[in-house]
């Protein structure tokens, strides 16, 4: 499996058979939010990783199998989203922030 995912980031160059990819985009009122911070929390709520979103609002993690929480921080906003990751698949998530 390679090439672009509908509506998501391209996974070209990533061996998705070995990775449990969680990726997506942060939006506010339908527009991408650049420079938001997305953190990946494990089932116990412990921090596992964090990335700032790109200019187009995108983020990506290489997780392990299981259920994770995406916690998004942006000026004046915080959102939690649950997501399931599995090796060999790409979980695409859109995080909608409340309008500031």
């Amino acid at each position: 499996m390679c090439g672009a995912i509908t509506g998501g980031l391209s996974v070209a160059g990533i061996d998705t058979t070995k990775e449990a990819v969680i990726q997506g985009r942060v939006l506010r009122a339908g527009s991408p939010v650049a420079g938001a911070y997305v953190r990946l929390l494990d089932p116990s709520g412990e921090f596992t990783a964090e990335v700032p979103t790109s200019a187009t609002g995108h983020f990506r993690f290489f997780a392990g199998e299981g259920t994770w929480t995406l916690r998004t921080l942006a000026p004046g906003a915080k959102a939690d989203r649950a997501v399931r990751a599995a090796r060999g698949s790409v979980a695409d998530v859109e995080v909608e922030l409340e309008a500031a």
Partner: protein, 282 residues
């Protein structure tokens, strides 16, 4: 050391950032962050290009460090305020590195870039140049840097603190989850190490927790305050963050950062490795 000597907040930077003897330094893994906008007046240090030897896996030497700081216009008696992305991981690494080479007054901006951005404070894209200085570094202080043989000898004898995420500690992940996982070394941790993820020491916005909270966290994990402590992670940057907490905020004088960390230890032939969530036996 105590908190007010090593940590500044954004208001302090706004007030003193352009003082004559204050130099703001942004340190990142991803240096495009600086180029896209930095705190006004801050110079850039590239964690990889500027602080790692280009050939061997090691630090730049004393002379190279002197050249680097001189080129950035940093003098020995300047107050250097470090900050960066990744919750200050690489800024803490640079702080530790500056201390290794004997810099007197170094501080971290609490919360780093993230807190600054979340508070919607201004960033500048203006090119920053400072007149070159003539910096003199000390010989490396290995009282704060651990090497592999010392780490192997510490199993069962000293407090080893693995500051990676629980999944990395257990061997279920080989790298932080923002990086691809395909790596050759074994997964797991150094036997007898306790797992106190670096993030336990920080709030969501990247600022450090209070001294009381910090002391409780490491005490509860079984860290022996009277003995020597060695912190490690994957490449030594998150454990520099924990080194900063233990040595600089909590005032322990017996803490080392093992910058070889799991990418070295997990590739060594013949050393013991523990997998799973428990520290394991010596």
């Amino acid at each position: 050391m105590s908190r007010h000597e090593v940590l500044v907040d954004a208001d302090w930077v706004a007030e003193h950032g352009s003082d004559e003897n204050v130099v703001l330094v942004e340190v990142d893994e991803d240096t495009t962050a600086y180029d896209g906008g930095h705190i006004a007046g801050a110079v850039k240090v590239d964690w990889k290009k500027d602080l790692q030897d280009p050939v061997r896996r090691d630090f730049v030497n004393k002379e190279q460090f002197e050249l680097l700081l001189s080129s950035r216009g940093i003098s020995n008696d300047d107050t250097v305020v470090l900050y960066g992305g990744n919750n200050n991981w690489f800024a803490a690494y640079a702080y530790w590195y500056f201390k290794l080479y004997g810099h007197g007054d170094a501080r971290l901006l609490d919360g780093g870039r993230k807190k600054w951005e979340l508070d919607a404070r201004p960033l500048s894209t203006e090119n920053v140049t400072r007149p070159a200085s003539s910096y003199t570094a000390s010989e490396p202080n290995t009282d704060i840097r651990a090497f592999r043989d010392e780490v192997v000898a510490a199993i069962g004898n000293k407090s080893l603190v693995d500051v990676r995420s629980p999944d990395e500690f257990a061997g279920r992940l080989l790298a932080p989850a923002h990086l691809p996982q395909e790596q050759s070394q074994r997964g797991g941790h150094i036997p007898t190490a306790v797992n106190v993820p670096w993030s336990k020491a920080a709030n969501d916005d990247g600022t450090f927790k209070s001294d009381d909270e910090l002391k409780k966290i490491y005490s509860a994990a079984g860290v022996n305050w009277d003995g020597d402590i060695i912190a490690y992670c994957r490449i030594g940057e998150r454990s520099a963050h924990t080194w900063f907490v233990l040595q600089e905020l909590l005032g322990q004088s017996n803490v080392k950062n093992y910058d070889g960390s799991w990418t070295e230890y997990g590739s060594l032939v013949g050393v013991p490795v523990a997998v799973g969530d428990e520290p394991g036996q010596a």
